[in-house]
């Protein structure tokens, strides 16, 4: 069992507290959504878990302290999809996805070598799971935004890590691609992987996540099933909005409607 636990996480940067006293855990195959207004500290939580930001508190995966793990070991257990798509060079889709196998690479002199067979299986699996197999020889710089998002997701899946962290994986995608990527991520949970996603779209968050963690100015406000977190009260106090809520096919939806008058 790979249980993921965060206990008393504090992230401070330049004298400013980005995240304060955050505790949560995540079971195998669970999808947790991190929500909250801009600047709530969602991305900082992911970066702290990735050891990209200085922090205090325990972060353990399968009982092992992540900070104490060597970088390569950690890289095999955690896959991370950052918010900005930084790919600069026109490398091919499959070469890009193959970079996800870097944590398994042998010594440096094998650097230019072709991926080994189990790497190929992982790469092929990731390309097929995200439905970019037919794009594999295209250059990433020539793809549409939706295709690129899936290719980047394939890169993260190729790591075959038990825990995947993704920072706004569906931002800037059209509704069809948003649903497509979210279903892909949900499918990963069915295969036993755990996911933590930073999301802005509350309907997607409520529909696809098992649990939501609502943050506001670095403080955890609520943690639980979407129905318990996305309450009228929380929306008003944290987001300062009124929303239309309802149910469709026994799942809740939420439609931000207007700013709360008098709220922040």
């Amino acid at each position: 069992m790979t249980r993921f636990e965060v206990a008393g996480l504090d992230v401070r940067l330049g004298g400013k507290t980005l995240v304060h006293d955050l505790t949560f855990d995540l079971g195998e195959g669970e999808l947790l959504g991190l929500i909250g207004p801009n600047g709530a500290g969602k991305s900082s939580v992911l970066k702290a878990i990735m050891q990209l930001l200085p922090h205090r508190g325990g972060i353990r995966l399968g009982g092992r302290d992540l900070a104490a793990l060597p970088a390569r070991e950690r890289a095999r257990r955690l896959a991370y999809l950052s918010q900005d798509d930084g790919v600069q060079w026109p490398i091919s889709v499959q070469d890009l996805v193959a970079l996800g196998r870097h944590p398994y690479r042998g010594s440096w002199w094998r650097g230019g070598g072709a991926p080994r067979l189990d790497d190929r299986d992982a790469i092929e699996g990731a390309l097929r799971a995200t439905d970019v197999w037919d794009l594999r020889e295209r250059k990433v710089t020539e793809l549409s935004g939706g295709e690129r998002a899936r290719v980047r997701l394939a890169r993260a899946l190729a790591v075959e890590a038990p825990l995947i962290l993704a920072d706004e994986p569906v931002a800037a995608l059209d509704p069809r691609h948003q649903l497509r990527v979210m279903s892909l991520l949900r499918e990963q949970c069915r295969q036993g992987r755990s996911l933590i996603l930073v999301l802005h779209d509350l309907t997607l968050a409520s529909r696809f996540c098992d649990r939501l963690l609502l943050l506001d100015r670095g403080e955890p406000i609520a943690l639980g099933p979407p129905g318990e977190v996305l309450t009228r009260e929380n929306l008003r106090e944290v987001y300062g909005i009124r929303a239309v809520t309802g149910e469709h096919q026994r799942q809740g939806y939420i439609l931000p409607w207007e700013c709360e008058s008098g709220a922040g």
Binding site: M50, L78, Q94, L96, G113, P115, R120
Partner: protein, 343 residues
């Protein structure tokens, strides 16, 4: 319809870089022989080979070994350093316009060398020359890196480079003017534009160990530079130690470029043109570009050095002039292409 389940070739592995490296190596050896044949006293191929092996006429041996071979070896070293550093800096800064010459690393190294030479410090030890050049190259690289760390655009990087190289160029001219033994304009031009003519093995020995060490450090970065194509955060999530990578590229470039500039002066644009031409042959992977760029840089410098001897001018052209004539139009084309990013 049957499901296709055959082994599929990875694009990158279908184009391994070994053949490319072998072609470049063959070209390099060929040009080296051509370079050994040319000169004020043209020698036949047989005379050159006889001179190299020590079996030919004494005069041919002397010309080949003492005069022309150091020039060829220096072309390898300076071209290899500039090519590999250009490719590594482009990978690290994730910017196709990065280049030791354009960024002012070469001219800073040149300034360091000039200060040592013309103020008599080299009398203490000849090693002061490459040491100062490498130190200045290191300072320049660190300055650039510091300036461009936080979300740099092409524009800030190039502007920082322009500022650095014009400052170093101006200080070099000033130092040469103020030197205890004032030198003529030819000397200033030499350091600002660079040349590999009239060099001996003493100069080769001064830079060789540092060039080899620098190139080794740069080649160690290859896999990490590939992964850095994903961006810093994701590369780090894949186990790449970013500070180690930065340190290796900066130190490797400073050692190799600094040491060669100490004996040749600044030679521009090699690190820009060569990676740009070769990138498509390595499937645009920044790490794989390193070795071909080193070989290609040596080919380009050697070719330019042969060309300047073929062109009949009253006075031999400077190597840096020839590389700039080839490189500047390239630079302009690249700038035009990335104009949209810069605005």
């Amino acid at each position: 319809m049957t499901r296709r389940r055959r082994r599929w070739p990875l694009l990158g592995s279908r184009r391994p870089s070994l053949p490319l490296n072998l072609v470049l190596l063959a070209l390099l050896l060929l040009l080296s022989l051509v370079s050994l044949c040319f000169g004020d006293a043209p020698l036949s191929l047989a005379e050159v080979i006889g001179g190299l092996l020590g079996t030919g006429a004494e005069e041919a041996q002397l010309i080949v070994r003492q005069i022309r071979l150091p020039r060829v070896v220096l072309a390898w070293l300076v071209g290899g350093s500039l090519g590999a550093s250009g490719a590594a800096l482009q990978g690290l800064l994730r910017n196709p316009l990065a280049e030791p010459g354009l960024l002012g690393i070469s001219s800073s190294a040149s300034l360091g060398a000039v200060l040592m030479l013309y103020f008599g410090v080299t009398a203490l030890s000849p090693w002061m020359l490459p040491a100062a050049a490498m130190l200045f190259a290191l300072l320049a690289t660190l300055t650039l890196h510091g300036l461009t760390r936080a979300g740099s655009t092409n524009l800030t990087l190039i502007l920082a480079g322009v500022a650095l190289s014009s400052l170093a160029g101006a200080l070099t001219s000033l130092a040469l003017n103020l030197a205890p033994n004032p030198t003529d304009a030819q000397d200033i031009v030499l350091w600002l534009l660079g040349s590999i003519s009239d060099r001996s093995f003493a100069e080769v020995r001064l830079c060789l160990p540092f060039v080899l060490a620098g190139l080794l450090l740069l080649l160690l970065c290859a896999p990490a530079l590939d992964v850095l194509a994903l961006g810093e955060a994701e590369a780090s999530s894949l186990g790449v130690d970013l500070s180690r990578l930065r340190g290796l590229v900066i130190l490797g470039s400073a050692l190799s470029v600094g040491a060669t500039v100490a004996v040749t002066g600044t030679i521009g644009f090699v690190g820009l043109v060569v990676p740009h031409l070769l990138r498509r042959f390595v499937a645009y992977r920044p790490g794989r570009l390193l070795l071909p760029s080193a070989l290609g840089g040596a080919v380009l410098v050697l070719g330019a050095d042969i060309a300047l001897r073929l062109i009949d001018t009253p006075r031999e052209l400077m190597l840096g002039v020839v590389t700039a004539l080839i490189g500047a139009p390239f630079f302009l084309a690249l700038v035009l292409r990335s104009r949209r990013d810069m605005l």
